[in-house]
């Protein structure tokens, strides 16, 4: 055990970023920093890094996220006002020292380990559905067989909220999706993405985010304008006719993407998870936010 401990002292600190307002460019600038590793899921993280301001309506989501980190866990508030009393606050540009400090912390779970609603016991199996499927046990809808929207077969449809801190979605975006396998059957916009300002729309940052979703992690130091990303098949990998190739090509040339997306409730149904995620990432955050905000109002 002592050998493991000695080796572990030289390890990178795995950090899960919860990105708030104006936090996207901040977090991207951290990706190449030695000593830490940004991870895609809170389960792999030791430290929760809240980057950018969040208002108090996100407290519950953040507490749930916090509870997903295995113990011991620590929190850092980077250019963010703390929503709970644990973890250091970092007002300046460099959170590394605070992350190291948080990596020694052992914060308690902030939410009780309970289902969101009590068990109600409706119907023969108690969950209120049909047979052993469907219903809303503990207040959460369970999968229920429904017609497949593509080929007329019947498949289990599952409804859940995704966001606001899922790393593959624009920060702040909350979608209520009904999925059959990885195909989106219906999509409702529950909350628009956070504002990221002009740094969030920078072509190198947008291209790097999209490439990372395709398994190419070359960071924001990507040599915009070089044919490297093209030679990796990044453009060919995207579905033709979706506009995604055109938008990624623009970013790779160093140009801004100024197209507006269609409302997500119309554009996402019928797409597979990966296509939907890439489609959302293929618009400038400011443009997507504007359309989603309008959609949320209507």
């Amino acid at each position: 055990m002592s050998l493991l401990s000695a080796l572990a002292r030289g390890a990178e600190i795995p950090v899960f970023p919860a990105i708030g307002t104006q936090g996207l460019a901040l977090v991207e600038s951290l990706r190449s920093r030695p000593g830490i590793r940004l991870v895609d899921t809170p389960r792999h993280a030791r430290v929760l890094l809240v980057a950018g301001e969040l208002d108090s309506q996100h407290l519950r989501s953040l507490e749930r996220l916090h509870a997903q980190l295995p113990a011991p866990r620590g929190t850092v508030w980077w250019q963010a006002s703390p929503l709970f009393s644990h973890g250091p606050r970092v007002p300046d540009d460099d959170p590394l020292a605070a992350i190291r400090q948080a990596a020694q912390a052992d914060e308690p779970v902030l939410r009780p380990d309970l289902p969101p609603h009590p068990w109600q016991g409706i119907g023969p199996h108690g969950q209120g559905g049909k047979g052993m499927m469907g219903g809303t046990p503990y207040g959460r809808p369970m999968a229920m067989t429904a017609d497949d929207i593509r080929d007329g077969l019947a498949l289990d449809a599952y409804t859940a909220c995704f966001g606001p801190f899922l790393p593959m979605l624009p920060p702040g975006l909350v979608l209520e999706l009904t999925l059959q396998g990885d195909v989106i059957v219906s999509a409702q916009m529950a909350s628009p993405p956070f504002e990221q300002g002009p740094p969030g729309d920078a072509p190198n940052l947008c291209a790097a985010r999209m490439l990372r979703l395709m398994g190419i992690d070359i960071g924001i130091d990507i040599d915009i304008g070089s044919p490297r990303a093209r030679s990796r098949g990044a453009l060919l990998a995207l579905p033709a006719g979706s506009g995604m190739r055109r938008r990624l090509a623009k970013w790779l040339r160093g140009d801004h993407v100024t197209e507006d997306p269609a409302p997500v409730s119309e554009a996402l149904p019928g797409l597979e998870w990966t296509e939907a995620v890439l489609w959302l990432a293929s618009f400038a955050p400011a443009r997507l936010r504007a359309v989603c905000t309008k959609e949320a109002v209507t």
Binding site: G10, A160, M168, G181, A237
Partner: protein, 297 residues
Amino acid sequence: MILAAFSLLVALPALIWAAAVFDRVGTGRGATVLGPLCNGAALMLRPNTSTEAPDALNRLLAPGWYLALALIGLSVVPLAPGIVASELSTGLVLWGACEALTVVVVFLHGWSPNSPLPLIGAYRYVAIGLPAMLLSMFVLIAAALPAQSLSVVEVVEAQRGLWNVIRQPLGLPLFMGLGLAVTLRGPLDYADGAELAGGTSAEESGPALALWQFARLAMLVAFSAMAASVFLGGYLGPGLPGPVWLLVKTVAVMAATVAAGRWFARTPPARMLTFLWVILLPLSFANLALVGLEVLP
């Protein structure tokens, strides 16, 4: 047999370390050599996580099964003339079974935490894994034809005149596609990708995650040793002892697989399915037909 099994068990940790080092080369993260060991140690000291209503037994066993499949697959690779852990006349079939069961194990890994993103990773991997394994079967049958045997030992010996990589130029590139799929890498990583926040591994932490990553690297070693034996002549080569040649070729295939995994973009799964069924599988048929014509008396 005992000597071969012992040699494999001694060499495997070092090769897995080498594979992890390859994964860090060029990432600009520093600590290329010691970094994987330190990160692995830190992961071992973190706790496993619990989820709501998991399939606990399969969640516990999936990483172990994956590692076991890598070890069983590796056991049919001959280290030198007459030195092989499992001297089977059907070694290629055993390797094929390990490939096919990898699909099952990855599915169980995604199914067992009872969580949506891992489950999507699991389903997607099965869809992609099936044509990838089929492709590998045709490629391996083509490699077995000149040897007139399904024994890996015989396939290596049949390359004394000419390596299969030259005799069947399509074989190794197609087999590399299978390698990316069974080791969950880059363009064929439909199980654990970033667009699913880690996919089948999204809910894992601590020793369970460490073992899964260790098993992935062990599978990379097993695949590389198999590719080196079936297409690059295995232990055959001038001057150096056979095991050294096998080691050199295995490390070269490992490096190439890691590089290919990092280089190429991953398409949405529907496009990859079309590519596999419509382009790569017919290419593997063509490869088999050409080899069949070549070995006609």
